[in-house]
């Protein structure tokens, strides 16, 4: 609860800070301080210190898991602010508003990680989506940004419609919006043919969530939107937001689908198959690193979907780890990408010479995304595969997934090849030492989690 209220308040604070001062770095500093407060208070809640005692009427419950994820999201955002905060200022004139919108999104994140009612899921997702539509279109003069914003908005609302239809049908079947009201019916119907309204509803809900996490064949918005949005916001929405929606998905699945996972497995496996295939294969041919990252985010989503496929401890722990690993690495990569003059692969040629620190850290992040051991990404993938294998069925899917992971190496390593092995003159914006230090720290975290993932996972239990 702390997180939801504080982040909403912080959003308002940011709005006012924009009124009070035009000094953008002051605004940014306010945002950073605010975020630290938010992070601190969220962690405090994890330790039992609640600032507000609000009766949620069972619509929300704040468990360790969601709070841990919130902390990860906030911490990632903090790093994101530190790395890319300056670049937010370059997008447009409404700096305070951008920060405010980001805080509102964080509020949405906090909601979707602890909802118990489909209503709050819906509102939470809308609170996330609507600011995102705006941030996507924040670069108003840029036609790409316009286009991305429009596409995102139209398809986003379309999927909202589908989600609502799903929720409605579930309501029709169960008479409740509460997860705990749905679950018994789902479970009870295990042997009898499922109530078709319920199944249809769950299916539509699944599809709309699949849309939000950009799972194929509902992923089409992702590359265009990620590509068109101002890079600094792409970074945010491809990482923190996406991970949050995954956690929401998992929570929903846990609550509403959980016992019936067998019935969903074929659909999930097809989704995984398509997502991995399309994401990885299409990324191979991309010429722009940014767009490649968009497709790679689809591919990563395919891996994260394994959490739904093999629904067990490994999946839950894995998603946390995956969220952290993926977010941290992608934020780092984007932070560097934003500094580049040219977003194509050629633009990276020779970065290893001109900016060794950037290149080295970027390499670590890319290795993490590719799932190479000693980086957090390895354990993330490991947990996903373990979850799927523990599940025991459809082993072929796991093999398919690892083959796709091998394909992913192709496009991630292309960046490495450009940076180190090709000659060129990679032009970057001016790089401050602070930026480098943060990158190094971030890379350190990625490696630390790659050796001792329990540093993070233990938080779930203590």
């Amino acid at each position: 609860m702390n997180a939801i209220i504080i982040s909403a308040i912080l959003g308002v604070v940011m709005m006012y800070s924009g009124v009070l001062t035009k000094n953008t770095s002051a605004i940014r500093n306010v945002a950073i301080v605010g975020l630290i407060v938010l992070l601190g208070l969220n962690m405090a809640e994890g330790c039992g210190y609640q600032l507000f005692h609000i009766n949620t009427k069972g619509m929300m419950s704040f468990e360790k898991y969601g709070l841990l994820f919130n902390s990860i999201a906030f911490a990632s955002t903090l790093i994101y602010f530190l790395l890319s905060g300056r670049d937010v200022e370059k997008v447009g004139v409404y700096v305070a508003e951008y920060f405010a919108l980001i805080f509102f999104i964080l509020c949405g994140v906090a909601i979707v990680t602890s909802f118990n009612s489909l209503l709050l899921l819906f509102i939470g997702i809308e609170i996330i989506s609507i600011p995102l539509y705006i941030l996507t279109g924040a670069d108003k003069r840029n036609l790409k940004s316009n286009e991305a914003s429009l596409k995102y908005f139209l398809m986003g609302s379309f999927s909202t419609g589908i989600m609502l239809m799903g929720i409605t049908l579930i309501f029709g079947a169960t008479g409740s919006f509460m997860l705990k009201g749905i679950a018994p019916l789902v479970t009870g119907a295990a042997d009898a043919p499922l109530n078709v309204w319920l199944v249809s509803g769950l299916l539509l809900l699944f599809i709309s969530m699949a849309f939000k996490v950009s799972a194929a064949p509902f992923h089409f918005w992702t590359p265009d939107v990620y590509d068109g949005a101002p890079s600094v916001f792409t970074s945010f929405m491809a990482t923190i937001v996406k991970a949050a929606i995954f956690v929401a998905f998992l929570r929903l699945f846990d609550g509403a689908y959980g016992e019936m996972k067998g019935a969903w497995q074929s659909i999930i496996s097809i989704t995984i198959l398509l997502t991995l295939f399309i994401g990885n294969i299409t990324a191979v041919f991309q010429q722009s690193v940014k767009r490649m990252l968009a497709y790679s985010s689809i591919a990563q989503a395919g891996f994260m979907l394994f959490a739904l496929f093999g629904f067990n401890d490994f999946a839950k722990e894995g998603i946390i780890l995956y969220a952290a690993a993926y977010s941290l690495a992608t934020i780092g990569i984007f932070a560097i990408l934003i500094k580049m003059k040219d977003y194509t692969f050629e633009g990276y040629n020779g970065l290893g010479k001109s900016q060794p620190v950037l290149a080295a850290t970027n390499t670590i992040f890319l290795l993490s995304l590719a799932g190479i051991p000693l980086t957090a990404g390895f354990f993330a993938k490991y947990y996903m595969l373990a979850a799927a294998i523990k599940n025991g069925t459809q082993f072929w899917l796991v093999i398919f997934a690892v083959l796709c992971a091998a394909v992913s190496v192709y496009y991630y390593f292309r960046v490495i090849q450009s940076m180190y092995f090709k000659t060129g003159n990679a032009e970057t914006a001016t790089i401050t030492p602070a930026f480098k230090y943060v990158l190094i720290v971030l890379a350190g975290i990625v490696i630390l989690l790659g050796v001792f993932p329990q540093l993070l996972l233990n938080q779930m239990y203590f």
Binding site: I4, A8, G11, V12, M15, I54, T56, K57, M59, M60, G92, V93, Y94, E97, Y98, A100, L101, F104, C107, G108, I111, S117, L119, L120, I123, G124, E126, I127, I130, P131, Y133, I134, G137, A138, K140, S149, L169, G172, A173, N195, V196, W197, V199, S200
Partner: protein
């Protein structure tokens, strides 16, 4: 066939017909007008279903505010049938087929529900009254209600960010 059934059919036909009008009409202004008709028809359904408050809200918010906004924008942009972009026939056809398929599939899937005979008829019941709704809203649903303020705030900020001239 009692009066409510007759009304149901009239309203249904009206809603579907005007919805089709929205889709098919070449002139955007006609589409808006058709949409308004749809909203009215749906509001009529609400009344039939004892949701009086929602019926009113629907007319005020949707037909009144939102649609006027649409109309306003369309007028502002001076859109008409001549400048209306059209898809190729094949794509349109494909779109219709896809929509139809979806309809058929969903209907085929859920027509056999056990609860299909359960009725939703005009009868007693006062949950649709503003008082009852208000009580529930500010008791059980106060949290989502408050949270939706965040939504509005962000939409407001967004509209400013997007809409305001730099």
């Amino acid at each position: 066939m009692n009066i409510s059934q007759i009304l149901f059919w009239i309203l249904t036909v009206l809603a579907l017909g005007s919805a089709l009008g929205v889709v098919l009409s070449k002139n955007p202004v006609y589409s808006v007008l058709c949409l308004i008709v749809t909203f009215f028809a749906i509001s009529g359904h609400y009344i039939l279903l004892n949701a009086q408050f929602l019926a009113i809200v629907n007319i005020i918010v949707y037909a009144g505010a939102i649609m006027v906004l649409f109309l306003f924008v369309i007028m502002l942009m001076n859109l008409n049938a001549e400048v209306e972009p059209q898809k190729s026939k094949i794509l349109k056809f494909a779109g219709f087929i896809a929509g139809l398929c979806l309809f058929l599939v969903i209907v085929a899937a859920i027509k056999n529900a056990e609860a299909k005979t359960q009725a939703a008829q005009l009868a007693g019941g006062d949950i649709g009254l503003i008082k009852n709704l208000g009580t529930a809203l500010f008791n059980d649903y106060v949290l989502p209600f408050e949270i939706s303020s965040v939504l509005f705030l962000s939409a407001m900020v967004g509209a400013v960010v997007i809409g305001k001239k730099e």
